[in-house]
Symmetry: C3
Subunit: 343 residues, 3 copies
């Protein structure tokens, strides 16, 4: 994507910003990290740990927090704003809208749409996509190539399904939902009863419900419920390669990072945050606002607001203290041997 | 899926059940968890930990084990059976057969079937699916949309391939096998020889064999063998997002939960059970009936019947005892300092 | 794949080999592990741990290192070479070329190629594949079935994309790159700013660059950069189900085993080796030639050449020593109680 933005436009986007320094550049054509930016680029300080890179950056404009102290280089502007990360996102949204506008809605000639399906206004359906019997696609939604919207499934308004998303039958997607490439919604749950040594399959007759404003990462899988429903609450964001088991209920505004595994019938209350590769045993409840560190193994209910780490999971500070003491185990054993030999 | 079932039909399904209480309802139209069930629903006690929810449940019928003691509410029936989980599965199977019968077999007009492929009787092939040269699909099998059955591959009888299953060349699938959406069978194994600092690829000329009655979860990957075969034994059930490396041999009746990783040339004997996110280093043997806890890291052979946990993996009870003692490390260091200062 | 190779041909492939023993077999039709090989098969000793299987192997030819001491059975040849693993790879490459030659290049009649796309010479494009606007596919590249090459994306020369690979827009793939089935390149990065409790999406306008000679395993995901690029260096090999976050930069010649997760903006220098299921927190640098054990959790920068294990990650030897001492914690607590009661 090629783009350029004038200094006047930048000031329009950040009307309350404070300007320091000056530059001969009138247009900026790139956004780059502090250490890789060159003349003509905009850069930003999004994370305090990179503060030492600001003085040597060659960016023409640097978005900085008001608290930053220092002087711009020759031919460089400091643009001080409340939150450079939010500012950058705002700038990116402007550029995306201006320079990468969505193509006009189009239903590709190779797509297969069942005559009983209901397709709204201004809908795009990509090449080789399949819309099943009695399925619904709401206004302004974009279905990529090679997607499958199963019989009786519903996609709300203004959704984006990237290539190869698979919604099996009876999956209900709200509005403004983004499903990245390869997402599977409504796979059979993993449930077997072992009778006389043979694993007999339990049929999964339930559905999957994804509420408004949810985003789900590439190749993530959500199993359908045994009966009832698997549900993802409003505004929850799920990363790539996550496993959501059957009958799981995730609350609103949760953040679930890549490769997390959530076994069947787990319940998350609202605003739970889970680091990458953490795992949850079945049938647990995780309280509102709990934070779970990456790679943690959760086998018991979690109280609201708890911050857990490790497997078995412990309160974050205790876990860190134990990690430090573990490193001292060789020393402890030595001291211990010394005491015993003294006796 | 909408359905209803009469009380008479329920008694037919559970001829040896014991009935307590009575209800005015004559038809039941939902299956729900104890705490969410309303009048007209059937519920069940599948896990003893939910016992306290039975007295307050509004379900019209509750499937309970014979050992349950208590009295049904007004307008409520207790149906006591040997195993409520098995009972529920049996009920679900009946409902599925009765109310969600399979559509008639159909080969979609957009599917591509090579003229040299052999397709059996009553086979369904979904939209945009590809059946390669000399491939075989057995009687009564159902191939979903966007599937790829590679050259020389064989799908047995009464299999179900959900959308976007990819069987590359020379993959041999038995009968009554279920492959969920996005499963990849026969990807290149990860094998490189590093010669003069360059990672040279080892060609993978082997095949993949999946025996009868296997089920595999969404987006799981099975690599083809270097030579010989990668094999999954009869009746084994594998969950979503699992990695099966090249030359792996899994025995019969194993259970492998989501996101497990099994490196190349590992051998599982029969009836091994593995919890989610566990990992196995290459070239190991895991003995018959061994149990591996979730997130365990296995780097040595496992004896038959062992139950291991943690990384490095230890016998379950020892691992739990050590976890408890680790929590007491801060106390131990304090007591230790006290003794030393006493001396 | 059926094949046979004569003893003369074997000697041609290994001109500096040393022959011991003799066999009546003149053609060899299989390659098998030592314990499963039968008469007519070639086998090999690739890993010293299998040495004890050599004397009882029924293989007609066994590739062995010069250091192996022992005598071939009746009707059996020992072929001693420098490195039997490399030798086997060389043999496999010969067989692949001779007996499984690539079919002639073909663009399938069902493929959709945008009129503005540039497709080179001798390119194969599989059934139901989609090549977008202004996309490029270089000479001799093979695109499997159900692939998506997005608008403005570039695939170099002699690449292989297996079925259902998804390259979204602005993805740049070098030459001789292999992407296994279901790989997603260019998914939206996981980046949200939480403003007034709502997770606002940060648009991802950057690209993905994959350099020459890279191989990527099935269902692995690579997110596009927020701005700038996500980059995989020359000759790096990535296994199945790996997560590569936005703005990640992987150096040359790295090896990344299955189910590894790498969070946003991590930088790997060259020749880093990572075991399966390891995880990396965001914004870290991993130094040249560092080795990370499977399931390790990396939350700090890693110095070049380091070898780390565990979570929190420690130097390999220290981590192993602590694991051994942890097993002795029950004993330590007992000894401690004894001392205290003595006082």
């Amino acid at each position: 994507m090629k783009y350029s933005i004038s200094f006047e436009k930048l000031l329009e986007l950040f009307p309350t910003s404070k300007v320091e320094g000056s530059t001969e550049q009138t247009k900026f054509c790139g956004i780059s990290a502090l250490e890789r930016a060159t003349s003509g680029d905009i850069s930003f300080l999004g994370n305090a740990k990179y503060k030492k890179l600001v003085p040597t950056s060659n960016a023409s404009v640097i978005l900085l927090p008001h608290s930053y102290t220092g002087t711009p280089s020759h031919n460089q502007i400091y643009l001080k704003i409340d939150d450079p990360s939010v500012g950058l996102a705002c700038l990116c949204k402007f550029l995306e809208k201006e320079f990468a506008p969505s193509p006009p809605a189009e239903i590709h000639s190779t797509a297969w749409i069942d005559p009983t399906a209901k397709v709204g206004e201004r809908v795009s359906i990509g090449a080789f996509s399949f819309i099943g019997k009695n399925a619904t696609v709401g206004n302004n939604s974009k279905i990529g190539t090679h997607c499958h919207v199963g019989d009786y499934s519903v996609v709300g308004e203004s959704c984006q399904l990237y290539p190869s998303v698979k919604l099996l039958t009876h999956c209900y997607i709200g509005s403004r939902v983004t499903l990245n490439a390869g997402v599977v919604v409504g796979s059979e749950g993993y449930g077997f009863d072992t009778v006389d040594g043979v694993h007999e399959k339990i049929p999964h007759l339930g559905k999957v419900v994804i509420e408004d404003d949810v985003e789900i990462g590439a190749n993530t899988c959500l199993d359908r419920a045994r009966f009832e429903e698997t549900r993802i609450g409003k505004g929850t964001k799920i990363d790539n390669l996550v496993q959501i088991g059957h009958n799981v209920r995730i609350g609103n505004g949760c953040l679930i990072v890549a490769q997390v595994g959530i076994a069947g019938s787990v319940k998350f209350e609202d605003e739970v945050v889970v680091g990458g590769q953490a795992g949850f045993a079945g049938h647990l409840t995780v309280g509102k606002g709990a934070k779970i560190a990456g790679q943690a193994g959760i086998t018991k209910n979690v109280t609201p607001g708890a911050f857990l780490k490790g497997n078995p999971a412990l309160p974050f500070k205790l876990s860190q203290r134990i990690s430090i003491l573990q490193k001292r185990l060789p020393e402890l054993f030595n001291r211990f041997d010394a005491i015993e030999s003294n006796d």
